[in-house]
Subunit: 263 residues, 2 copies
DNA sequence: CCACCTGTGAAAATCCTGTGAACGCAGGGA
DNA sequence: TCCCTGCGTTCACAGGATTTTCACAGGTGG
């Protein structure tokens, strides 16, 4: 969101976080180019912040990012202004003061519709080690060969890969892949991790992808074979990790990170 | 629009006509089924007209017609009501009295987004394997012989072929071919896929076109018979795919997935 | 060394798809 | 008006594929 009304921003940010959204606050115009890079679902903007560049800015944003939900929220405005904004490409126009809950609901409505349009929704393929994970095919590939994952297997893998480097708790994984809360004592996650490991192992034997964190859950992090997982120094040299980003960013400070390689 | 406020309705109708829109006025709830038949871009509704069925009605309309722009316009309302409406699936919520020009602008904003989702119907003929799919005839041909597809069969085939290579979920297929949300447990898509396969098989026995992805949906990808699909690494070509052209020797993309070829 | 966790393999329970046929509806023709 | 035909929808069943559940073995932490 682009706004300077710190009270409104703060409240909204808090509620957004609570709802599980990720949001970023800016106090001035952000170049459309940068907006693209941010991969936003929606943008909430108060044109008052933009000064007399406002219309131009809205126009540019709307035309450069036709799939971005664009919501204007500002003080008093005339019908003519609202109509102009909407015609320019804004999806909604709210008047301050407005209830944060309503702002969220409108942002949600706008994003929902946006998402629906793009049926190629999460069509961003992920690359990890020798793996290529393609949501458009609900399948993962190693050297163009399909791993033949079932739907659940794929969704689990995709989730883990999306959160590459993060340790995810079983409950969290279950919640996000199965869509509802995990029953006490359910071992489904473990079983599917085993199935995944088996297929990964058979297609990409020289890499280790899924690591166990005892008492917690799992972490996805492609590692070429050979590192014995004694201690991991801040990235001396990875044999090859083309699009590996943020490698040294986080020293796995946590306890031990045993990586028992399923072997 | 569904409203009884004749003044508002009349003014709006006149402006809408002037803007080149077609609009129909109702004074009571219209069954979602009928809405489907009306092929609407957007629906403006005053829930006050619907009495205590309002929420239920909104819910049903929104879930049955996810692609319909749904705008609520009513008298005073609480934040909670607006939030509820928006969460239920409404795309916008205006408060009366509202300027007709703004109402139009909002309807337009909502429809614009809706339209954007739909790919522009180019009506371009597609070629795939031995198939030639011609939207201008609502028919597919193999060596200039018509497959004698019915309307639904054709539309299903065309949709699949347009998204060649992509796995489409049943819900999505249904949504896009039938025009409204698929009811739980509906098997129509399967039945039509079977009909298509039968006709395709009889006209082009040496090719396989429609692949099943268990638990997900279907994928259209013409493959000449006989490929056992162990591993295929042809040229590592990119999926540029401008328009399908006669691929007499096109190396079918990835490996197999289950392609249980009905036999 | 003990209590707990996780890896494994296989059996049991579910879910999904292919298939053939019945049903209802609407249009055309007699 | 009645009958016939084509088309889309719905049903029930069978064969598989996939998920869950179990019991047990082995590893981990304290």
């Amino acid at each position: 969101m682009i706004d300077t009304d710190s009270g409104f921003v703060t409240v909204l940010a808090r509620r957004a976080e609570a709802a599980g959204w990720q949001m970023s606050q800016k106090t001035g115009p952000v170049p459309p180019r940068d907006l693209v890079a941010m991969k936003l679902n929606a943008l909430l903007v108060d044109p008052a912040v933009l000064g007399d560049q406002a219309w131009d800015y809205l126009d540019r944003v709307a035309s450069m990012l036709p799939d971005l939900g664009l919501v204007v929220c500002t003080g008093r405005s005339t019908v003519a202004q609202r109509v102009r904004g909407l015609r320019l490409g804004a999806d909604d126009w709210m008047t301050k003061p407005c209830h944060p809950e309503e702002a969220l609901a409108r942002l949600e409505a706008v994003s929902r519709r946006r998402r629906r349009g793009r049926h190629e929704h999460e069509a961003a393929p992920l690359a990890a080690g020798e793996l290529e994970i393609r949501p458009d095919r609900f399948q993962a590939f190693v050297r163009d060969e399909a791993l033949d994952l079932t739907r659940r297997e794929f969704e689990l893998l995709y989730l883990l890969a999306e959160e590459r480097g993060q340790v995810l708790e079983r409950e969290q994984i279950y919640q996000r892949v199965w869509g509802y809360a995990m029953a006490h004592g359910d071992r489904s996650v473990d079983v599917f991790v085993r199935k995944l490991r088996k297929k990964l192992e058979s297609f990409s034997p020289s890499w280790t992808y899924i690591h166990t964190h005892f008492g917690i859950g799992y972490r996805f992090d492609p590692e070429p074979a050979g590192i014995v997982a004694e201690e991991i120094h801040p990235a001396p040299e990875q044999p090859e990790a083309p699009q590996a980003d943020e490698p040294a960013a986080e020293p796995p400070s946590q306890a031990v990170h045993n990586t028992f390689t399923a072997g």
